[in-house]
């Protein structure tokens, strides 16, 4: 097992290296650079100064020189300076990443809280009206675009009913570190998280449902029934445990997804997170932020797959990693 993990980690190094080259070249291949935006907003700048600034930012160096410089800093944990935000990418990401992880974790937890009971009910009582209702809901949610659904949620629960705050990640007037502060954070988190979770459930529900239906007719279940094991214990002890396998295996990926953020939720709820930052950085050619984010999510994906494999082998004794 340990050997397996070590080997996988060793393999990540060339993978990340290839990723870094690709990302860097692709980022540089985009037309324009961070200074292009100056043209539209600030005609009061002369060509020479623009050239000087490019020089200062190192944009005029040959690509391999730029890559080497970037790589050297990267290895020291320095992700560079964001031109648009005029601050180190590390600082910028630290603030945004925390928000995004909070939101994504909340979405993930809510998704499981909603999807697992529903999946169990609909798998156990297949073709009942409850099952039809749940399957119906999961299809509708699957078909609903997030940016419309989130808006509707915001209008109903934020503006019309006034149950939740309508934007931001925290109320600015509460003192940082107090209990009220954390409560306010949670309060700001609930509505966007719920909006994300309610239409995120389809995968979990369907997996769980079909696994339960599958397992229900397996031989070992029949044997258990024949031996007179009570129905509830058949479900809890035998069927569910087996049905959770694919969901458990998926957990690794889900954890990776935590850092991705959501462009729509962040924009609608004015919630400063990674999704918007990534999009804006691409549009504004803020290279250092783009490359940093791709590298981080690349690394996270690799770790996520590894985690998934480990989890799977831990929960399913049939799978052995050597």
């Amino acid at each position: 097992m340990l050997k397996f993990i070590l080997r996988r980690i060793m393999m990540m190094i060339p993978q990340l290296f290839i990723l870094s080259v690709l990302v860097f070249l692709l980022a540089k291949a985009m037309p324009g650079d961070a200074l292009t935006g100056q043209l539209a907003s600030n005609p009061k700048i002369d060509a020479q100064t623009l050239e000087e600034m490019k020089e200062k930012l190192g944009l005029n160096d040959p690509v391999h020189v730029q890559y080497a410089r970037w790589m050297k800093n990267l290895l020291q944990g320095d992700l560079g300076i964001s031109y648009i935000h005029k601050q180190p990418v590390n600082d910028l990401l630290a603030g945004r990443m925390w928000n995004t992880i909070l939101l994504s974790a909340a979405i993930l937890i809510l998704t499981y809280m909603i999807a697992i009971p529903l999946g169990i009910v609909s798998g156990r009582w297949t073709d009942s009206w409850a099952d039809k209702l749940i399957v119906g809901y999961s299809y509708v949610s699957f078909a609903t675009p997030l940016f419309i659904f989130a808006l509707i949620m915001l209008f109903i629960f934020g503006f019309k009913l006034g149950w939740f705050p309508t934007g931001g990640s925290v109320d600015i007037q509460v003192e940082k570190g107090t209990f009220a502060y954390y409560l306010s954070k949670l309060n700001h988190l609930l509505l966007p998280a719920l909006s994300g979770a309610l239409i995120n459930t389809v995968g979990t529900i369907q997996y769980l449902r079909s696994e339960i239906i599958d397992t229900k007719v397996k031989d070992f279940v029949k044997t258990a029934r024949a031996k007179g094991v009570p129905e509830s214990s058949i479900y809890w002890r035998h069927i569910l445990r087996n049905s959770f396998l694919p969901i458990a295996a998926f957990l690794g990926y889900e954890i990776t997804g935590l850092i991705g953020g959501s462009i729509f939720l962040e924009s609608i709820f004015s919630y400063p997170g990674i999704g918007q930052l990534f999009l804006q950085s691409i549009l504004q050619r803020d290279y250092s932020v783009v490359t940093a984010l791709v590298m981080i999510s690349g690394l996270a994906t690799l770790i996520g797959t590894l985690l998934s494999d480990i989890i799977l082998s831990a929960v399913d004794p049939r799978i052995r990693i050597e």
């Binding site: 324009g32 292009t36 907003s41 009061k44 700048i45 020479q48 600015i172 400063p272």
Partner: protein, 595 residues
């Protein structure tokens, strides 16, 4: 994702109508204005400038909505900020030393007074005694000098050094290149007095002088290269404006409290809370009273007007849209524009293309009249310099056809498109920018208009170009581009030299002309300190540009603000006249809510 979805449908619908009626035939009934059902036309000149509120001001806090679908960057300093959201935060806590008049020329009503020497090259600036930074330190002459020392420094990370006036200061270049450790043209006379000397006398100093001091005592320990990222600018910025920054939640909100020691007197508001609001929900937030003031997206105005708890104020923006012709290229060696592209040298062809487009229709249908036909390259937001009598190019397809015939562009092979004077196929490559729902219908509309007069216009690469590729192609004179549609924000300096001069890169059409050189030179000469003279020169320049049309001015823009009924003294020109925030007040503790 800037608009809600029903809006999208409306736009699609509007495109449909445009395609059917607008440019394609002369028999449609909207010529005589009967077709009012689909046209909901607004007129920015009918918008009040200041809100109406006769109530008595109470001691309250105002909620300001910063309308943006992204978090603000948070570079909270005039010398360093670049994005407009950051300016919207800056306006509350810091301000320039000078006030200015409606032509944006500095006056002596602000925190400092000025006097120009007889040769107009030296300005003496005196800062008033009661002007204090938020930490109680007085604002000194050395603070203003420090701002220049920072901007001119080789380690400076912002963009303000690019300004021509900045580089024209005596000794600035020497300082910038590191040959001198002070700027010889800037002298601190005493604690409160300072003189600045320029190499040339230029009336633009009255609008363009850098008048934002930096708190030297507060910032001097931070190396200049680290200033923009320092906490002293990002987390705990100070200024000398009417409000102090109390707290910042990065990217989403800022809390301000009243600066009781504000030099012009105590501000009316107890504080301001600014938060980012997505354009998708700004109307709801206004209706619910969650925000009191917001710059309102003009494309949502039609669905918002009539809302009971808010008032709208508006003005014409300092910008214009235009369509430019590529007439040459930028010679980076000589730092000069060279007009060597033969395709559009014929003035009549350019004029014909200007007559062929129906900007009125575009403004009315796509922007509900909140953008309207531009007549010159100096927008009406410069009331003294905009030539009100200029006609510009009004839609006249017959005249366009006649001009094309005269210029020799005739359809010789009978395919419905005109050939060039040599009888060769004539295809015009049009570069338009993507972004927003209106970009596509707008480009299609213009192309249809040109097609109606027999010109074969195609989109470059068959599609709209994304912002960066657009400017990449325009700036580098990509030979694929013949005609391009873009826009300029003018800033408050009327001088068009920076956009149309022979030696400036931003003269994207690459048009050069001796008469133009002469007028632009005169426009910022010593003589032009005489306002009547300057007006005359710029009228001549506007006429010249309309005659030669290297670029076709297409639309002027409006800017509107939605304001809760409880707000008093808010006016649409508070940007750029930001010191007016002192007088803004609220007449009840709680905002009005729409029923």
């Amino acid at each position: 994702m800037r608009k809600t979805w029903h809006w999208r449908f409306f736009v699609v619908f509007a495109v449909f109508l445009l395609g059917l009626t607008a440019c394609s035939s002369s028999t449609s009934n909207d010529k005589d204005g009967k077709d009012t059902k689909t046209t909901q036309k607004e007129d920015i000149s009918k918008f009040p400038m200041t809100v109406k509120n006769d109530g008595k001001i109470v001691d309250g806090v105002l909620n300001y909505g910063l309308v943006s679908d992204t978090p603000f960057e948070g570079t909270l300093n005039y010398a360093f900020y670049e994005g407009d959201p950051d300016f919207k935060i800056l306006q509350f806590f810091d301000e320039p030393l000078f006030h200015f008049n409606e032509d944006y020329e500095i006056t002596n009503d602000g925190a400092a007074t000025y006097e120009l020497s007889d040769d107009k090259k030296t300005m003496t600036i005196k800062i008033k005694d009661n002007v204090k930074w938020h930490d109680g330190e007085p604002v000194k002459a050395e603070d203003l000098e420090y701002a220049y020392l920072v901007i001119g420094h080789k380690d400076y990370t912002g963009v303000r050094y690019g300004d021509a006036l900045m580089q024209d200061i005596v000794g600035m270049e020497e300082y910038h290149s590191g040959k001198a450790d002070k700027i010889s043209g800037i002298k601190v006379i005493d604690d409160k007095t300072l003189t600045i000397t320029w190499k040339h006398a230029n009336p633009s100093v009255l609008t363009g002088i850098w008048a934002y001091p930096l708190p030297k005592h507060y910032l001097k320990d931070v190396p200049i290269k680290d200033l923009a990222k320092s906490d002293k600018i990002r987390k705990h910025p100070i200024g000398f404006g009417p409000f102090k920054v109390k707290k910042i939640v990065p990217g989403e909100s800022v809390e301000f409290v009243r600066n009781d020691d504000y030099w012009a007197g105590k501000p009316n508001l107890k504080g301001v809370i600014l938060k980012v609001v997505s354009p998708q929900v700004v109307l709801q937030a206004l209706k619910k009273g969650e925000i009191d003031v917001a710059e309102f997206p003009t494309d949502q105005y039609v669905s918002a007007k009539g809302t009971k708890n808010i008032q709208f104020v508006g003005k014409i923006d300092l910008s214009y849209s235009y369509i430019g012709f590529k007439l040459g290229r930028w010679d980076a060696e000589k730092q000069e524009n060279v007009m060597d592209n033969p395709k559009f040298q014929n003035k009549k062809l350019r004029q014909a293309m200007a007559y062929a487009i129906n900007n009125k229709e575009v403004g009315d249908r796509l922007y509900h009249g909140l953008r309207f036909p531009a007549t010159t390259l100096i927008p009406p937001s410069f009331p003294s310099y905009h030539d009100k009598n200029a006609k510009g190019y009004t839609y006249d397809p017959e005249k366009a056809k006649k001009l094309l015939d005269e210029a020799g562009y005739k359809d010789v092979d009978g395919d419905g498109f005109r050939e060039d004077p040599n009888g060769k196929k004539f295809v015009i490559n049009f570069l338009a920018m993507s972004g927003g729902d209106i970009a596509e219908p707008l480009a299609k509309f213009y192309m249809q208009c040109w097609k109606d007069v027999g010109l074969n216009v195609q989109l470059v690469d068959g599609r709209l170009a994304e912002f960066n590729s657009f400017y990449d192609m325009v700036q580098n004179d990509d030979p694929k581009v013949d005609v391009f549609a873009a826009a300029w924000g003018t800033g408050t300096d009327v001088d068009p030299y920076g956009l149309y001069g022979r030696n400036v890169m931003f003269n994207f059409s690459r048009w050069v002309n001796v008469k133009n050189d002469e007028l632009l030179e005169k426009g910022h000469s010593e003589q032009a300190f005489d306002k009547e003279y300057r007006k005359k020169i710029y009228n001549e320049w506007q006429a010249l540009m309309n005659e030669e049309v290297p670029v076709i001015p297409t639309l002027y823009r409006s800017i509107i603000y939605a304001v809760n009924n409880r707000v008093k003294n808010y006016s649409a020109d508070i940007d750029p006249f930001i010191w007016k925030w002192k007088d803004v007040g609220v007449t009840s503790e709680k905002p009005e809510v729409a029923q």
